[in-house]
Structures are given as structure tokens and as C-alpha cells.
Amino acid sequence: MVTLVVKRFGFMIFTMIVVSLILFLLLETDLTGDPAARVLGQFSNEEQRELWREQHGYNQPVVLRYVKWLGNFATGNLGESIRFKGPVADVLLPRLWNTAILGFWTFAIMIPLSLTLGVLSGMKEGSKLDRAISVFGILTTSVPEFASAVFFSALFVFGLKWLPGTSSMSGGFEFKQLILPAMVLIVYDFGYVARMTRASMAEVMTSQYIRTAVLKGLPYKSVILKHALRNALIAPFTVIMLQINWLLSGVIVVEFFFAYKGFGALILEASLNNDIALLEACAMVAVCVAVTTQTIADIGYTFLNPRIRFS
């Protein structure tokens, strides 16, 4: 178990270093244009650019710059954002927090909902309830977020006038503004998790030990809750961990549409504005979240499933 954890963490760090190298080559070198011109803007002259390069150490050898850059990153010095004219961390953290709030509510509703429906559906494969849940899940999952966002806006904002049209929270946090973005994310993602749970549950229900439990006369409720559920939830656990990953990129569309000031919108803004330092930080955060959730999923999976742990 310990070796596994150490190995996983080692792999995690290795992945991040590789990604950082790619990022550095793409954004900090002349491969994609002069960084000085990007930072100083179109009216800057060569003199100002040279001065900037000198001040910011852009005239040093590339290898040395990379090591320094990596060191800065590791110590939390993320640089200055061009668009926001301030330290990257000051912009990034509140935005991450906003996305975390959106993610929290999305998951808080989506996970219990999809697990319950998945389990109900998988308990009796082929029943009317199963068919209904499956069809509904496929339907919502196959509608892309930008389409459901338009649909919900047309219905709840322009039609019924129940909900505010955008979620910029400019006057402070307001739960009402969170409903539409969360709804779009939940509707899109719930079908996927529900169907994974259903498949897993259905498989468990056909296994020998469940048949034994039923035949030895245990109450049905207890068979489901005590015997089937624990095994059936192993697969959905990994899927859910991966959804955190998905959320970080999935929110870009939703945050853009509803003007929610989160991490997804920030990635878009950073790339549209050539904001190198900010883009680097966003990319590193996204990669960090991806490998961390992956590692947790791997370790958690072994923990839940002794067959992997001991083989």
C-alpha cells in the first residue's frame, strides 16, 4: 500500500513537470511570438521592450530561466497578470473559490440524485422505472451545455421571469444566481453518473453472492443496502472523481454563458488576452487538480476494492 502511494505521488510530480516544460516552451519563449510585445502592448517601442526583457530576466539562457520559473511556481510566486494589472494569485484564488462554490452545489445535488436513480434503475434491470431513468439520462447527457443553457434561459429568464439572467454576483453572493449554471451542469452530468451506477448495480445484482443472500431469506432491503451497494459503488466512485476534472473544463461554457466569475471564465479571459502569467497559472492549477483527483481515485479504488490491494 505504501509503495503504491509513493509511486502514485512520484508519477503525479513527474506529470506536472512535463506539463510545466511544455507550458514554458509555448508561452515563455519566442516560439509563439515576442513575450515583451505581448506584455507591453502594441504601442511599445523596441527600447521599452528591451528594457522590460532586461528587468524581467528574459535575456538569460532558456534553461536557467526555466529553472527559475519553476522555482517561482513552486514557492507560490505566480507572476503578474497583464489584463488584471496585479499578482496572479490575487485573481486566481477568488475565481477558484467561486468555481468551488458552483462545483460544490452541483455535486451536492448531482451525486445523491444520480446515485439514487442509478441504484433504483440497476436494482431491477429492464423495469419500467429503469427504462424511464435510462432514457431520461441519455437525453440530458446528449444535449450539450450551451444548448441547455439557452433552453433554460429562454424558459426561466425570458419566459417565466423566475430567475436572473446572469450570475456575475456583482452585488455580492446571491444563491438565486447560482441556480441556472448549476442546473445546466447537473442536467448534463447526472445522466452519465446515473448510468455508470446503474450498470455497476445491475452487474452486482446478477452475482452469485446476491443470489445467495436473497435465497437465504434476508430481507430485500438489507440485501440491497448491506451487500449490493458497497460493491456497486466502486465504479461510480472513480467516475465521480473524474467529474471534478471534467468540471474544471466543463464550467468554461457555463461560466461564459452566465457571466459567472469563476475559474473557467478566467482561463478563457487569460487566453483571449494573451495573459501569459495567468494562463500558466490556470493551466498548472488545472493539471494539478487533474492529477490529484486521479491519484485520489486510484488510491481510493484500491482501498474500496481489496482485490486490487492484495494482488
Binding site: A37, R38, G41, Q42, F43, S44, N45, E46, Q48, R83, F84, K85, V150, S153, V157, F158, K161, L163, P164, G165, T166, S168, S170, G171, F256, F257, F258, A259, K261, A265, E269, S271, L272, N273, N274
Partner: protein, 567 residues
């Protein structure tokens, strides 16, 4: 407006000439008002003179002052608009930045929605008969928010700063008549310029004299161009960052500022020289770049007004109850300009061939739904006062083919056109229509659509690209910014001494008839040199909620909410 109080010290002889022209029907009342106010006559007096001459009431096109009595004080106006960094008012390249700043700092003059320029921080001004010396009398008793008195030092500081090439201000092009060549050349081979010594002088603490090397009529109008907001004389000493140290003379102060999110202005406690403002607070709410988000926000009452209404959301907005859609013609436009220093556009025949492919009417109808007026490839609009009507231009595909063959491309040519949709997708649609027509002549245009912010990194560099230009009340203003040799915004690198001379002459001619006659040459040179394909000048729209009182659409979107209140 406090221009009623303005003391007209001396009537410029040009005003007498204008009076005669108005009486003889040689100039329009608009032209009279514009020129008379530029020459230092107060707006009220100019409207009065016009009424006397014409024997009928000539009233302002807008009614803000008349409304004041019924307007309610207090309230918070929420306005949907992107919030960008706004560190240096002298180098703004987006109108939106100036709209936030416009409530904190002020301009020497103000050009209203009726295109008339009125006194603001300058109480009055006079021009010498040759239009080479301009004297501005500054308003007394105006206080900066840090307690200092506003005076001539502030104005001298601002001019000096704008006209220092190191600042990188686009105002360099506007005040070219205050510059001289240093003898050095920049990398592109254009002469480096600097401000002529004593071009701006403090006469006394409240009088500033501007001396020009050639006559310019539009000095006051230039002073309301959006990067000419007057900052405090210690702006640079105190860090040079306006959003961190927002010292101003205006009625509002910056209470909160988050780029990409929000800018909050609060009414200052100190009395404001310009009289009562109604709103307690103005909140600029950034809703990103999606036109749909702005529409959803105004539909659900999250904002009371929008910076702009996209062409794609115009019809939808008209159908939402509680919302007013406002539209006015303007000289905002999209220029498909060809960089004359880049191959293949170094050859005028190629440029002419591209120009000949353009069907202006078709482009207007398809790309902007016919909402606007057609243009003639010389950046002067029919609604510009100095517009001279040249013979109409027509699409000529055969002619284009012939020119192309002469230029050495008998089998056609491949071009790539950048478009950033900085003001909407009509930009992309315009290029698409040109692409279709040009293909008939063997010109194969590849469209390179890029995000708007990235576009501004390459706009002066790309060989072929569509750039959106904002409205300017006088044609000479925009021509000086965009086509004069070596100015920062000359994106086509056009350099023609003959054009520069003709423009200088037009700029220095007061008489409308004569100036219009001189514009013939200016327009003709620019059109014949085929620097740009300019299909149309577009109308501008926006939407506000019905509870907003006193909102005036401005052709340049230089919104100012001093006279706006909530019902």
C-alpha cells in the same frame, strides 16, 4: 450645462462669415452651430444666433437640461459593460475604459450627442484669425478630489505627456501641428517627432495658450477625443496608475474596481462645479464577451442599461417589455485596409483590384442588415460636415481581373485577411461578402478570424485586415489619426506627402464651402491610392430599461451619466 455663464471675450471673425453663410443657406444650422461653438461662442449663444438668423426656434436635438426639474435624486444605476484595466487615461485604446474614467476625471471640452462642442474644464476659448494660436480660459474654483486647485499646470502637464512619444499616446496624431521632427528616424524609417518648445504655455494660472505650426480648426473637438481626459499634474509622480490613485475633478469617485468584474463609482461628498448629479452610485458590471449574457441581464433587470446592443440581439431586445432600444447613425465603420509596405499591397494595382471587387451596398445589406450608410473607400461619411460628394463608385470585376493580370497575377492571387470581431460579427460577415465577390476576380481571400484582444496585437502589422474605427464628429480628425505619415494608428503605413499637405490645408480652412472643396482632393487622393476597402458607416444601437431617465445615446458611446436619473 453652465455655458450660459461663459463670457465670450471676443467674437472670432470666422463667426461673422458663418453667420452670412447661414443666412445665405450655404451652410446647415448644424454646421453653423458646430463651427461657431468651436470658435468660442457658447452653445446657448450659438443656438440664439441661429434662431435670429433663420427666424425660427433652433433648439438642441436633446432635452437633458429641460428635464432636470422632474428628475429624482438618488439611486444606483447598473450598467452592463466590460471593465478593463484603466491605468493610464492618456493611452486608452478602448472607449469603455474612458466611460468609467469620464465620471472621475474630466475633459477641457465636451462634445454632446448633437456633435456640438461645449465648454467643460475650459470655460471659454478663442482662436487667432489664422487658427494657429488657441487660448483656453480655464474654469476657476474647480477642485481636485485631493483638495488641490485645478489650474494651468495640470493642462500643460497633460499636453506635454501626451506629446512625448515615450508615453505612447494616440493623441500624437491629433495634435500633429504641435510636433516637430527630431531628425532621427525610427525602425520603419519614419521621422521621430517631439513637441515644439512652448507649443503649450501657461499664460497665467487659469489661461493656457496653444501654438500650432499650421492652422487646425478642430482643436476643441480633439480635446474630447477619449484619451484626452485631464489628469492631475502629479499623476506620474504619484505612481502613474489611475485605477490605484484616481484623483479627479468630476462628481464621482472610484469606490471599487475589479478588472473583468466590476467598477463602482460613488457620488463625491464635495460640491461639484458642474451642478447637481442625480445618481448616488453607478455600477459597471462586466458580463464577459457574450452578447446573449448582456441581453439576459437587462431582460431580468440585473442591469439598467447596456454599453451596446449587438446586431445579433437587436431584434430580440425589441421584443422584451420594459426595454427601450435606441439607434442613431454614426461614422463608426469597418476598414478592410491594405498595408502599403507589405507585399503584394506594395503594388497599387493589387490594392485597386481588391477595391474594385467590393459591392458596398451588398456588404451593408448582408453584413449590417442595411443599418447604416454606404461608404466610398475614403473614410469620409455623408454625415461628416465636410463631406464632398465624389462620383459614385461601382463594383468592377472585369477591371479587377485586368489590373491583377497587369500586376503579374494573371492566374489570381491568394490573400489572408485578419478579422477580430472587436465590435461584433458584422466584421467577419463583411469580409465574407468581399471574399465571395473577390473570388469572381480570382482573388482568393482566406479569412483569419481571431479573438478580439489578440487582434489588437496585430492590427497595425498584418498585411490585410479589418479594423473597426469609432465615430468622430469631423472627418479631418479621423483622417489625421489614421492616414497621416508616421502616426501611431496609421495601420496601413500609408505615407503620401501630397495627402498630408492636402489634409493640413483642409484642416486649416474655416469657411465651410472652401473646406468642403478642399476635401475633394483629400478624399480623391485616398480613394485613388486604394489604401482601403470601406463598405459602410454603421448605425449604433443600445438598450436601456424604461426606468432610466435622461439617457442620451452618443455616436461615439462617450456615455456620461451626470444628467441621468432613475424613475
Amino acid at each position: 450645462m453652465t455655458d450660459e455663464k461663459q463670457a465670450t471675450r471676443r467674437i472670432h471673425p470666422g463667426v461673422e462669415k458663418m453667420k452670412e453663410a447661414l443666412a445665405d443657406g450655404k451652410c446647415s444650422r448644424r454646421e453653423f452651430l458646430r463651427t461657431a461653438t468651436l470658435l468660442g461662442v457658447s452653445a446657448t449663444a450659438a443656438y440664439g444666433i441661429a434662431s435670429n438668423i433663420l427666424g425660427e426656434d433652433v433648439l438642441p436635438d436633446f432635452v437633458s437640461s429641460a428635464m432636470a426639474a422632474d428628475q429624482k435624486k438618488g439611486g444606483v444605476l447598473k450598467f452592463g459593460m466590460v471593465v478593463q484595466e484603466m491605468a493610464d487615461p492618456g493611452t486608452y485604446s478602448w472607449t469603455q475604459k474612458s466611460i468609467v474614467a469620464r465620471h472621475i476625471i474630466e475633459y477641457l471640452v465636451e462634445t454632446g450627442p448633437d456633435n456640438i462642442t461645449r465648454p467643460n474644464l475650459a470655460e471659454s476659448w478663442e482662436a487667432s484669425d489664422d487658427l494657429k494660436t488657441w487660448t483656453f480660459h480655464l474654469r476657476k474654483g474647480v477642485k481636485w478630489s485631493n483638495g488641490d486647485d485645478f489650474n494651468a499646470d495640470d493642462v500643460v502637464f497633460n499636453f506635454t505627456r501626451w506629446l512625448d512619444p515615450k508615453t505612447g499616446s494616440s493623441n500624437l496624431g491629433l495634435f500633429d501641428a504641435m510636433l516637430e521632427e527630431t531628425g532621427e528616424k525610427d525602425k520603419k524609417g519614419n521621422p521621430v517627432k517631439r513637441m515644439i518648445k512652448n507649443a503649450v504655455q501657461k499664460v497665467d494660472p487659469h489661461t493656457v495658450k496653444i501654438t500650432l505650426k499650421s492652422a487646425v480648426l478642430s482643436i476643441p473637438e480633439n480635446l474630447y477625443n477619449y484619451p484626452t481626459g485631464i489628469v492631475h499634474r502629479n499623476f506620474e509622480k504619484e505612481g502613474g496608475d489611475f485605477s490605484k490613485n484616481p484623483v479627479g475633478t468630476g462628481p464621482y469617485e472610484l469606490a471599487e474596481f475589479k478588472v473583468g468584474e466590476l467598477a463602482v463609482l460613488k457620488k463625491r461628498n464635495a460640491p461639484y462645479w458642474g451642478g447637481e448629479v442625480f445618481l448616488d452610485e453607478i455600477r459597471f458590471v462586466d458580463l464577459g464577451e457574450d452578447a446573449g449574457a448582456y441581453l439576459a441581464a437587462i431582460a431580468s433587470g440585473q442591469v439598467d442599461g447596456l454599453y451596446e446592443l449587438d446586431l445579433t440581439t437587436l431584434e430580440a431586445a425589441k421584443n422584451i417589455p420594459g426595454i427601450k432600444v435606441i439607434s442613431i447613425p454614426s461614422t463608426q465603420t469597418g476598414l478592410i485596409r491594405m498595408k502599403v509596405t507589405e507585399k503584394p499591397f506594395t503594388d497599387i494595382r493589387v490594392r485597386k483590384a481588391v477595391q474594385k471587387c467590393c459591392d458596398v451596398k451588398r456588404m451593408l445589406d448582408i453584413a449590417h442588415r442595411g443599418l447604416g450608410i454606404v461608404a466610398e473607400h475614403h473614410h469620409v461619411a455623408k454625415i461628416h460636415p465636410e463631406y464632398f460628394a465624389l462620383p459614385p463608385i461601382k463594383q468592377d470585376i472585369e477591371g479587377a481581373k485586368k489590373l491583377l493580370a497587369e500586376a503579374g497575377y494573371p492566374k489570381g492571387i491568394e490573400l489572408s485577411c485578419n478579422v477580430g470581431n472587436t465590435d461584433g460579427v458584422w466584421e467577419q460577415d463583411s469580409v465574407a461578402v468581399l471574399k465571395e465577390d473577390a473570388a469572381k476576380a480570382g482573388i482568393n481571400i482566406k479569412m483569419n478570424v481571431m479573438p478580439s484582444a489578440q487582434y489588437w496585437d496585430v492590427w497595425t502589422k498584418a498585411p490585410l485586415s479589418l479594423t473597426s474605427w469609432t465615430h468622430r464628429p469631423l472627418a479631418v480628425m479621423v483622417l489625421g489619426l489614421a492616414y497621416r505619415t508616421g502616426v501611431p494608428w496609421n495601420e496601413s503605413s500609408y505615407a503620401n506627402p501630397e495627402f498630408d499637405a492636402a489634409l493640413n490645408e483642409a484642416e486649416s480652412t474655416l469657411d465651410v464651402e472652401k473646406r468642403r472643396a478642399k476635401m475633394e482632393k483629400v478624399e480623391k487622393i485616398l480613394q485613388d491610392d486604394a489604401v482601403l476597402v470601406q463598405p459602410f458607416f454603421r448605425s449604433v444601437f443600445t438598450a436601456i430599461r424604461e426606468n432610466v431617465v435622461g439617457f442620451e445615446m452618443h455616436p461615439t458611446r462617450y456615455y456620461r451619466f451626470h444628467k441621468v436619473s432613475l424613475a
